[in-house]
Each structure stands twice: as structure tokens, then as C-alpha cells.
């Protein structure tokens, strides 16, 4: 069935569908509905919701719940995410699965509450300390919020690693029809969890490895796991990319805008196409390089001063010119605006 649903609410519904019965969080606009709906819904299916005293406490509660074998989630936005970074590093170091949602708002500092994509570095490149990666998924619709959150729980468990839903104020606040059915979601056994039982008494959750050799061994183990994840989990979609002269690249809300830009441009006889990364880590580098092969130019559009841009350049490795257009501060470009910009830049070349 379809129900009209807000992006942030879809995340909570997905969590419940995925069997998550533990939510620990702290309010922040524009992510607060996630905490509010988790508070309303999760206890009604027998789960735990707790408003922590800070994001620092919240992510450490997530660490505790994950240690205990629970599927667990928290949600926040920029300033709160900065506070969680230490905890996320501990989760990765201790190989604990968890889902963290970042509904990105404008920064740095208090910034504002309007949409930006400026947490890309912090989330995709790992804003915490040490050699680790987050699995990062970027929804662009309410349905995506639902599906990718369920996927995030699955991938987090599969790789025993934190997975982040990186979204923004627009996708979070937007309402769209959500196709939702009761579904069976399998949860893996977690024989490593610490549950306070005779069977799990031998278990230990820790991220400390005192000797250089021990820690190197551990970091290499994580590295191998991340390589495996890179091999299997890169996700993307394309729109009219086959014959595109200019390939637009954008994720999240921007990919929606760019889809409309492609339509407008094609009405004017300009062959644009779209490449939308769905997983930001692992980045679909190979697919992007392949898709870009036939085009003459790639243009990245981002709500940041050029963060994902670096991954696009790495993926293309100098094989194509990469142009960049950005809006920040909470301004989201319209499809017409991007189209006009591309047109103006082409004019400038003539």
C-alpha cells in the first residue's frame, strides 16, 4: 500500500521494519522528527527509546546496545554528528554494527537548519580518528529513506561496521507516497554480543590493541573487510546517461534537481545525462568512470564548496574535464538555475 509519509518518518518506519527496537538520540532540527517518531512508535512494539543527555551520550548508548546484540539507531544533524564522531570511531574499531542518520544542515558551527551537503567529508571520509570507514548511503526520496535505512541495517550487520544515512533537510522534511508492506527481515545471529548470559560470558567488546603488532593486525583486518565492501556494495543509478554529452553528477536532493535539469535541457536539444551515486562509501568510482566514457565533460553539482567533487575527480583520474557548480548556506538550486548555468558556461566557450 501507499501512504503519504515524511522522509524522516520513513526512516523510523524502516528501522521498525528492519527489527530495530533500540533508539538513542538527542533532538536537533532538521532531524528531530526521527527522535520524535522513534519515541512514539518504538516503545509501542516493545522497544526502547531514550532521549540521551547529549549526542556524546547517545552514540555511546548506541555502542552499548550494539554490544548487547541489538539492532540500534540514532539520528542527528551537523553539530550533533560532530559530537558523535569519537563514538563512531569506537564503533568501527570495536566492529559494532549501528545505523546513524545525519540529516545535514548548513554549517560550519551553528550555521543554519536549511539543507546542505557539507557533511560529506565528515561522514564519508570519516570525521573520527583512526583507519576506518563508514558505509554511507544517500537517499533522494521518501521511498529511498525507507529502503536505504533497511539496507543500512543489513550492511551494518554484514560488515559489523557503522552505516550512515547521509541525507538533508529537504529529503527529511519532504512528504511523498511510501510503498510499504509487512515484510520479513532476517537478522543475523550475533554470537559475539555481550548479553549477560552464560553463553556470552566469554565475549569481549573493545577497540584497544596495545601492541603495535596487534593493532596493525587489527587495522589490516578492517582494511580487508573494507576492500570486500568496496567490491560488493557500490550503488548508483543513471538517467539518460547513454548518449549524454555532459554527464551531471549529484547525490541526494541534488540528484532530483538534476533529473529535472536533464529533462529541461533535452527539451532544448542539449544532451545531458545524470549519474547519481547512491552509496557514497563505497563510492561507485568504476561505474562513474564507465558511464563518463562517452561524454565530453562531467559536471558535479553539490550543496557544498566541493566535497564529493574530489571523489569524482579521483574516479575519473584526469580522463575528463570536471566542472563544478555549487550552492551553499541552505540555498538549493532549481533545475532551471542549473540548466541556465550550464548554458552560460557553454556560451562562454564559444
Amino acid at each position: 500500500m501507499r501512504q503519504l509519509c515524511k522522509g524522516n518518518v520513513a526512516i523510523v518506519k524502516a528501522a521498525i521494519t528492519a527489527g530495530c527496537r533500540s533508539y538513542y538520540g538527542y533532538p536537533i532540527t532538521p532531524a528531530s522528527e526521527i527522535a520524535e517518531y522513534a519515541a512514539l512508535l518504538i516503545p509501542q512494539v516493545g522497544g526502547t527509546f531514550l532521549q540521551a543527555e547529549s549526542e556524546v551520550a547517545a552514540i555511546n548508548m548506541v555502542y552499548g546496545a550494539s554490544s548487547a546484540g541489538q539492532r540500534v539507531m540514532t539520528g542527528s544533524s551537523g553539530p550533533g554528528l560532530s559530537l558523535m564522531q569519537e563514538g563512531i570511531s569506537y564503533l568501527a574499531g570495536a566492529e559494532l554494527p549501528a545505523v546513524v542518520v545525519d540529516v545535514v544542515r548548513g554549517g560550519p558551527g551553528l550555521g543554519n537548519i536549511a539543507p546542505e551537503q557539507s557533511d560529506y567529508f565528515a561522514v564519508v571520509k570519516g570525521g573520527g580518528h583512526g583507519n576506518y570507514r563508514n558505509i554511507v548511503l544517500a537517499p533522494a526520496s521518501v521511498q529511498d529513506m525507507y529502503e536505504l535505512t533497511i539496507l543500512a541495517f543489513e550492511l551494518a550487520d554484514k560488515y559489523r561496521n557503522p552505516a550512515v544515512i547521509l541525507t538533508d533537510g529537504f529529503v527529511g522534511q519532504m512528504m511523498e507516497p511510501l510503498e510499504i508492506e509487512e515484510r520479513e527481515v532476517k537478522q543475523p545471529e550475533k554470537p559475539w554480543a555481550v548479553k549477560g548470559t552464560a553463553e556470552t560470558r566469554k565475549n569481549l567488546i573493545t577497540s584497544i590493541q596495545l601492541s603495535a603488532d596487534q593493532l596493525e593486525l587489527h587495522v589490516r583486518h578492517l582494511e580487508a573487510k573494507y576492500k570486500e565492501c568496496e567490491k560488493n556494495e557500490a550503488r548508483y543509478e543513471t538517467y539518460m546517461a547513454d548518449d549524454a554529452e555532459i554527464l551531471l553528477v549529484g547525490y541526494g536532493i541534488v540528484s532530483r534537481v538534476l533529473r529535472s535539469t536533464v529533462d529541461i535541457a533535452r527539451q532544448h536539444g542539449m544532451k545531458l545525462g545524470l549519474f547519481r551515486p547512491i552509496s557514497l562509501w563505497p563510492y561507485p568510482s568504476k561505474a562513474l568512470a564507465d558511464t563518463a566514457k562517452k561524454c565530453s565533460k562531467v559536471m558535479v553539482v553539490e550543496l557544498s564548496t566541493g566535497q564529493m567533487l574530489e571523489d569524482v575527480k579521483l574516479a575519473l583520474n584526469g580522463t575528463k574535464p570536471v566542472d563544478f557548480y555549487s550552492r551553499v548556506g541552505g540555498n538549493v538550486p532549481s533545475a532551471e538555475e542549473v540548466h541556465a548555468e550550464i548554458f552560460a558556461r557553454m556560451e562562454a566557450l564559444v
Binding site: T48, V56, N60, Y63, I180, V194
Partner: protein
């Protein structure tokens, strides 16, 4: 070994061998005379006596006791600096049968983790905190702790702790005892054997209370740190008993159960909570409905409180029930608090690209500010519905039609200013024919539960349609009176 008579066994809660270092499998990493080893022993013995070994989870902190898990043959979780109470909170809530011990030093608990300990105590978490107060940072080599005494030197208080610079030593047992929820808080000392026996009892009592599910308990243990304090173990013990206890008096600070009224949320099935209902329409029925709807992009704007966001949601819901693709995007946050609000609504038979509408085909302007602000954005041939009987004298616009519908006035006549948005909805449906009016009524019925308000809504929807039918002339374009040619 056979010539020895073993009078007291090692607690079975400890491993037989400690694998932290290959060469030191029978000894801990603690310095000679350190209090941590004694405190571990008290916990181990209490867990064994109470039969809690299988159920126990020790949360090791950051500090000298970071390696507690090498010794305790229990479930073990190592936590970030200061966060053990948060980790313990979730461990205990995830498995209510577990017995969770948050073991923390004074830097861990009383400095970096102050927020976590206070709030875990305040929530009455069913955990036991063992708080080792040695008045100094041990692991990092002797920096000042929040419990360091006035005048006591450390590597970061080279002239001794000065109240004018670092403030006074912090009293955690007293501080937490000011809260409602904790059931048991005692401060004990490891300064001599008599006190160690008292400490033993306190640790046991705290764990017993947790076993009963009584609530939050903490034992603050004044503990010697001879290496860092540069004292021999005997002097360090004496320092604890004679000097530390003067600043941190021993005793029971809390021993009572608070009155708690338990409120449990209702329990429902997953399908109920997710709002999942059976789908009835077939693909043919859905396709057939296409004839009654058409694509449109809209912006709906006005003052907060005029129901513009809700009006957008009603339209989006209608579109969805007519099997269209729809999107609704609100303005949000402080922008709304300043008094104005707007939303973008798209109805389409195709997958929707950008939900952000910059060239609306329809604008609903519930006030003059919105009319002036958004009218210049209109798509060629667009339609503006304006909440007045005429547009302002100086207002002109090319390329779009303005239909004036005094929705607020009509709503007032009906008897509820609240339904102005529904008057406008009626007008919009009549004018654009983008959706069937019966669908609107169906949606309103599922949104509005109050009978009286529902009656007002019905009247409003009709009034809006009728006004457009009767009062607005066909082909009306933008003239000050709102309906000239």
C-alpha cells in the same frame, strides 16, 4: 606449592591466567599497592557470592583499569573515556536480566564523563557504578583530577591545586545524592583492612540491589595510587585514610527507594504501528482514474496558522489516493516562526524530479506578502488564487491569471476562520480540475475527526467551489477588481 595451605581461594569470577602479557600470566598490570586490584577483588567476590557471574557485564573505562577485562571472567565491554554510564545504560536496557557494572576512575567519572554519570543516576538506571577516587590521573601519568586536593601537586598543577585557578575538589557521592532516583550511594576507603571490609560490604550491597532491580547504586572508593603520588604503599594507604577522608568523608549518602509510578506505553502490532492497510485497488482501476486527474505544480503560501502546509498535504494525499506521483515540500524551521509559511506540491503521472518548485503553475496566496513575493515566479499561463476580493491597486502581472477568492471572509461567515484553507481548496479544485472533489471530501474526512469541524469543512469546500462558479468570470485576468477582462 604443596607446602602451602590455601586459606582463601581466588574468586572464580577471575580468570586463572591473565593473557594480557605472555610473560605475566599470574599478575595484574597494576602497580604494587594500587587500589584497583583490591577493588576488582571486592567486585569478583561479591559477584561470586551472589551467583551473578554469568549475568555480569563489566564496563571497563579509559584509565588504569582499561584492561579490567583481562581479569574478570564475565561479559566485558570496553568504553570510551567517561562514557561507561551511557554504555552501561544501553547494555542493561537491552538485556534486563544482565548485571552491569560501570567501573570508573575520577577523571573518567568526575571530569570528562560528568554529564553521563549525572544523567544515568538521575534516570535511575539499574546499574552499579564503582567509582575509584584516587585524587589523580593515573594512566596518563599524574595530571590533576577534579578530586585532587587543594594544594596537592600534580604534573598539571605544579604549584599545587589552587582554588582560584582550578576550583575545589568535586564530591560526587554528595552531588549524586541530591538527585531523586539513586537508591544507594556510599563512600568507602581502601586505607586499611577494616575499611576494606566495609568496602566489601558496600560493593556487595550495591550489586544485590541491582539484582533486585532496585535502581541506581554507586560506591565511591577512596583508593591509593602510590606510584603516581610518589609514596610507598603504606604511606599511600595512610594518605587515603588520613588526608583524603578529611576532604571526602566516608559514609552512606543515600539508602532509600524512591516512589516511582510506572507508566507503560500501549502495545500494538508492527502493521498497526506502521499504518499498513490492505491495498484494494487493481492496476486497471488505478489506470482508469488517470482520466480524472492532471499534472500540476503548486506553491501554497500565507501566514503560519492559515493552514497552508496542511492544505498542501491534503492535496498531496488526494493525488496519492488518485494513484498519482506526488511530492510535498514545506518551508521549515525559524522561517515558520517569523510568521510566514509555504509549501511546494507536485502532482504528476510520471516520476517526480525536483520537488522544489520555482515556476509554479498554480499559486495559492493566502496573504498579500505571499502574492507579491511569489507572483513574479509564475509559469507562463499560470493561475493565482488570492485570498481577497480584489488584488492591491498597484499590483500588475503579465502572463498569469489571478482569481480572487475571499476565502477568509467566507470562512468567517461559515463560522470558523480555520477553514479558509478548505474554502481555497474548493476554489482550487473547481478552477483547475486537477483532482475530483469527492476525493477531497474523502481525505478531509480522514483528517478531521471532530464532527462540528467536519461540518464546517464540508460547507467550506462547497462554498469555495460555488464562489468560483458564480462570482468569478471565465477568463478573468489580472485587474484590480480581480475579475475584469
Amino acid at each position: 606449592m604443596s607446602e602451602y595451605q590455601v586459606a582463601q581461594q581466588k574468586s572464580p569470577v577471575f580468570y586463572d591466567r591473565y593473557f594480557r602479557k605472555d610473560e605475566l600470566q599470574h599478575q595484574t598490570h597494576y602497580c604494587p599497592g594500587c587500589g584497583h586490584g583490591v577493588a576488582h577483588k571486592l567486585i569478583g567476590e561479591a559477584l561470586a557470592e551472589l551467583g551473578l557471574q554469568d549475568r555480569a557485564i563489566i564496563v571497563s573505562p579509559v584509565g588504569c583499569s582499561v584492561f579490567a577485562y583481562y581479569y574478570f571472567d564475565t561479559g566485558n565491554v570496553q568504553a570510551a573515556h567517561g562514557r561507561a554510564p551511557a554504555v552501561a545504560t544501553a547494555l542493561r536496557r537491552s538485556n534486563p536480566e544482565s548485571i552491569v557494572v560501570s567501573y570508573q576512575g575520577d577523571g573518567d567519572l568526575a571530569a570528562i564523563g560528568t554529564a553521563e554519570i549525572i544523567h544515568a543516576a538521575n534516570r535511575g538506571e539499574n546499574i552499579t557504578v564503582i567509582f575509584i577516587n584516587n585524587s589523580i590521573y593515573g594512566m596518563t601519568g599524574g595530571q590533576m583530577a577534579p578530586t585532587t586536593l587543594i594544594g596537592q601537586t600534580s604534573t598539571t598543577s605544579p604549584w599545587g591545586r589552587r582554588a582560584n585557578n582550578e576550583g575545589f575538589p568535586i564530591h560526587m557521592a554528595e552531588l549524586l545524592s541530591a538527585l531523586e532516583a539513586p537508591v544507594y550511594i556510599e563512600r568507602v576507603s581502601l586505607g586499611d583492612n577494616k575499611n576494606i571490609l566495609k568496602a566489601r560490604k558496600a560493593v556487595r550491597k550495591a550489586l544485590e540491589l541491582q539484582k533486585q532491580g532496585a535502581g541506581f547504586s554507586m560506591v565511591e572508593i577512596l583508593s591509593p595510587c602510590p606510584t603516581i603520588l610518589k609514596m610507598d604503599p603504606v604511606v599511600a594507604r595512610k594518605f587515603v585514610n588520613e588526608t583524603l577522608t578529611k576532604q571526602f568523608p566516608l559514609g552512606v549518602f543515600r539508602d532509600r527507594k524512591p516512589e516511582i509510578t510506572v507508566v507503560n506505553p500501549p502495545q500494538r502490532s508492527v502493521a498497526e504501528v506502521l499504518g499498513i492497510k490492505k491495498e484494494t485497488a487493481t492496476a486497471e482501476e488505478k489506470a482508469a482514474r488517470k482520466a480524472f486527474t492532471h499534472d500540476v505544480t503548486m506553491k501554497i503560501a500565507g501566514f503560519g496558522g492559515q493552514g497552508v502546509l496542511l492544505m498542501g498535504q491534503l492535496i498531496a494525499e488526494m493525488g496519492m489516493r488518485e494513484h498519482m506521483e506526488v511530492s510535498w515540500l514545506p518551508s521549515y524551521g525559524p522561517e515558520m516562526r517569523s510568521g510566514s509559511a509555504h509549501c511546494h506540491v507536485t502532482l504528476s503521472h510520471e516520476r517526480i524530479g525536483s520537488p522544489l518548485i520555482t515556476k509554479p503553475q498554480v499559486l495559492v496566496a493566502m496573504n498579500e506578502i505571499s502574492l507579491r513575493k511569489f507572483a513574479p515566479q509564475m509559469a507562463q499561463g499560470g493561475l493565482i488564487l488570492y485570498n481577497r476580493d480584489k488584488v492591491p491597486e498597484d499590483f500588475t502581472l503579465e502572463g498569469a491569471r489571478v482569481v480572487c477568492v475571499p476565502a477568509s471572509e467566507i470562512a468567517d461567515q461559515i463560522g470558523s476562520a480555520k477553514v479558509a484553507n478548505v474554502v481555497m481548496l474548493g476554489a482550487l479544485l473547481e478552477e483547475t480540475e486537477c483532482l475530483p472533489v469527492e476525493t477531497a471530501w474523502g481525505v478531509i474526512k480522514s483528517f478531521v475527526k471532530n464532527e462540528k469541524l467536519l461540518a464546517f469543512n464540508k460547507e467550506a469546500l462547497e462554498a469555495g467551489r460555488k464562489y468560483v462558479d458564480e462570482k468569478v468570470l471565465v477568463g478573468a485576468c489580472c485587474q484590480p477588481d480581480g475579475c475584469g477582462y
